[in-house]
Symmetry: D2
Subunit: 263 residues, 4 copies
């Protein structure tokens, strides 16, 4: 499907503030970027680099006053997320070198604390896709999805205790549970067609049967329409805006995802 | 300055043909990509990756029949190229690790064959920027710039023998001469505002005084308006389309670079 | 100074167990590896790769039975750690791209929770080296160094609460405090000459005045004799042995660091 | 098999000379480094980095006077080189991103000039391993192996014209022929047990059936005993010593490879 995404952020800057943005989606195996706009107002010097995870990152220093970021993308992405029940667990000794770091605990995914829970949740499941599917089902049944409930990232331990959270919280818990079973898992931030209420979104991927699969416990079914902005170990790696110095939040954050005609 | 660039390529494909394209400019320290369009007709599966030099590369397999690539970019780039007479030669032991490979000979830049010539050309020059400037002047005086004269890349040795060439040939010769003096140098391919006749363009950069500087012996003065598509050791690394199997050339190649209003 | 290091680990393996080891020191700007031995008994297939931080990692699967790792290194390292009071804080916008990830919170360094404490500790200090020095002094005065007290890694929040810990705990707390002030910081694991009691060791580095400096709150003075095995964001990245499946601890872990003659 | 390798180089340095050395073998999928010594006399500051190909490179500046490098390694390597007639050609669109650059022409491997010859040589062969095997056989039959005949690297075109050469020349020609058929190929430099006369050695690898295979037209049969020091696109990338400024050659170069007991 083809999607047009608009994401606009407006800030009021009080002291010059360095930002690292991750707002330029890049083409990959799952999506193709056909059109892209990225405007900073006022116009600002930017340098762009590729981080360790392959994400395009934009470095700027916003000056005092109003500062706005306006992005639009037209993206071809898949109509459905691949599902693959039965896809097998990859033995650690067979994982590619570059995947190994997704087994380690990270800031918001204390996988070292979740082995007992993960074993309980996945009791009787075939190792691999079915385990991750059981984890996702368990989160759907156990954790309440309350968009807007948590402003700051929570760690998996905190989410598991609170029993409610935003999309990012679900991703962190899902990742921690997967890694505790030695299944590599990573967070993805981006956009989702038809998300209710519309906003940026986060979900996770697990490495099974020699590739990454998408999982999203905040949604039902296997719809596609996902557009990736960045991926990494957890939200610490993939803040769509990472800002340093006194906290600045956008006073306006507008996200729109429309389906557009194929041609 | 702000530039709008259109680059359209049309091919007639006889057998399914794998391509690696380098047609998506990326933001860097010298340019900011504000708008970008990239359309393949017919619509074709693409995967995109970042190569060793940081270039975005698009992998596709074009199917039989007409195949066209249409790209548009709006880019903020500098009005003037930085010049810096006197900028000092960086001793090899002080070069960053990541720069060292730009000292080595490469397919089209046989720097191992040019030391005598380079020493002659740069006689009496301060080591660094002034040497590269002398090399550029020497090429302007010695090699005739004949756009369209050579279809296939020539190596620096061949260019030096022929005494005429296209922009890419000048870049190869300049690079070989610089490297033979232990000055790191690399090719850049992209677009140039006001290029006559308009087409894709190639020039080179040399690493002096701890940064890269732009040199272009096919042009006079220090105008800016350069837009980078890719960079690497020489044309072997940065073909804007690298195609495998029986040769395919575009039957139409349209490049347009217009200046547009700042806002 | 020249050091000879012996590190032997012995395990009793009950089920075939994948390990990722980080026991081969590599030469860098601060150390030169002159001699190195690395033996696995029984002889075992190994593949080695370089991780995102440049560490050499050895992948093996240990089979049932006794399994031992014996390593020896002879290393030239510095007699004193560089100190540089007054070295300046590097503004975020001036940090190299590759350093930025050392500003982010990580599994055991919840830098997002420490800003108030860090500001208090470094009150009145010049931004940069002096701040990190104040943090180190504060830890020396406040946290008790109790080798052997904690088996599992603690996070900075936990260490700050417990008020005692092992070398790794000091490193995590120091790193979290630095990052909360936007000073890049990373953990180092390795060996230290004259450590009491002798064992593996961990400390941290902070990026100030455009380079990394060594800090170690568990030691007094500025002695050198540090030998680096691995570095990363925190202990999650640089386990000297990372083992998957049911926990296995070495039943014998012998570390010896002797000074040997220069020649 | 276990091999002990000694490689000693002695230079007389007239002006301070920067070197980049590639004399520290690293463990990989085909070899395990058990013991290693690396001594510079006089003792010299070294920094070590990993290049784009994963090779460990040592940077030094040798001062005036005698300068010697003494290295010893004990390495476990395979008794036989894998052969795999029938292993299939990998379609370009299926090659991993990281392999693609081994399809491009490079300084000493002008693969763009060899398609006709390669097609002739491999007439009737199954695409893949059998083609590379035919190329190797053709070189054995056509090019005379004359150790010591060429001091400077020759390019594949030159080797094909001269009809004799050293091991490196064979590697360059084999690589150029493979790449001209869209088979990724790379040079390897290192040591070979029982090489006559004993010296450093070079051979090549081709990527077939989703992995790299070893080919060496200077040797008969499929003996193993290869120890890798470095790999890259051609000799420009993997000089075991790359030296800048006025040429310096070792006045003594001693290589010894002995088989030692397994334990």
């Amino acid at each position: 499907m083809r999607l047009r995404i608009t994401c606009n952020l407006k800030f009021e800057i009080v002291v010059p503030t360095p930002f690292i943005l991750m707002l330029r989606p890049r083409s990959g195996s799952q999506q193709w970027i056909e059109r892209q706009e990225y405007e900073l107002t006022p116009s600002t010097a930017v340098s762009e680099f590729t981080d360790n995870y392959g994400n395009l990152c934009q470095r700027i220093t916003a000056q005092e006053g109003l500062f706005s970021i306006a992005t639009t993308s037209e993206v071809v992405t898949t109509e459905y997320s691949d599902q693959n029940f039965g896809a097998h667990f990859v033995e650690i000794q067979n994982l590619p070198d570059s995947i190994l770091s997704y087994l380690l605990p990270s800031r918001y995914c204390e996988s070292d604390c979740f082995n007992d829970l993960a074993v309980t949740i996945t009791q009787g499941q075939l190792p691999g896709y079915n385990q991750v599917s059981a984890i996702t089902e368990w989160m759907r049944a156990t954790i309440s999805y309350l968009p807007g409930s948590n402003n700051e990232p929570l760690s998996a331990v905190q989410v598991n205790h609170k029993r409610y959270g935003v999309c990012r919280d679900f991703a962190h818990l899902g990742i921690a549970l997967c890694r505790s079973l030695s299944i590599p898992a990573r967070i993805v931030v981006g956009y989702l067609y038809n998300l209710q209420p519309m906003d940026m979104h986060a979900w996770f991927e697990a490495y099974i049967g020699n590739r990454w699969y998408t999982f999203d416990a905040t949604q039902l079914g296997s719809q596609g329409g996902y557009v990736i902005l960045g991926l990494g170990r957890d939200a610490a790696d993939v803040a769509v805006f990472n800002q340093f110095g006194p906290s600045v939040f956008p006073y306006e954050q507008l996200v729109k995802v429309e389906r557009i005609a194929e041609f």
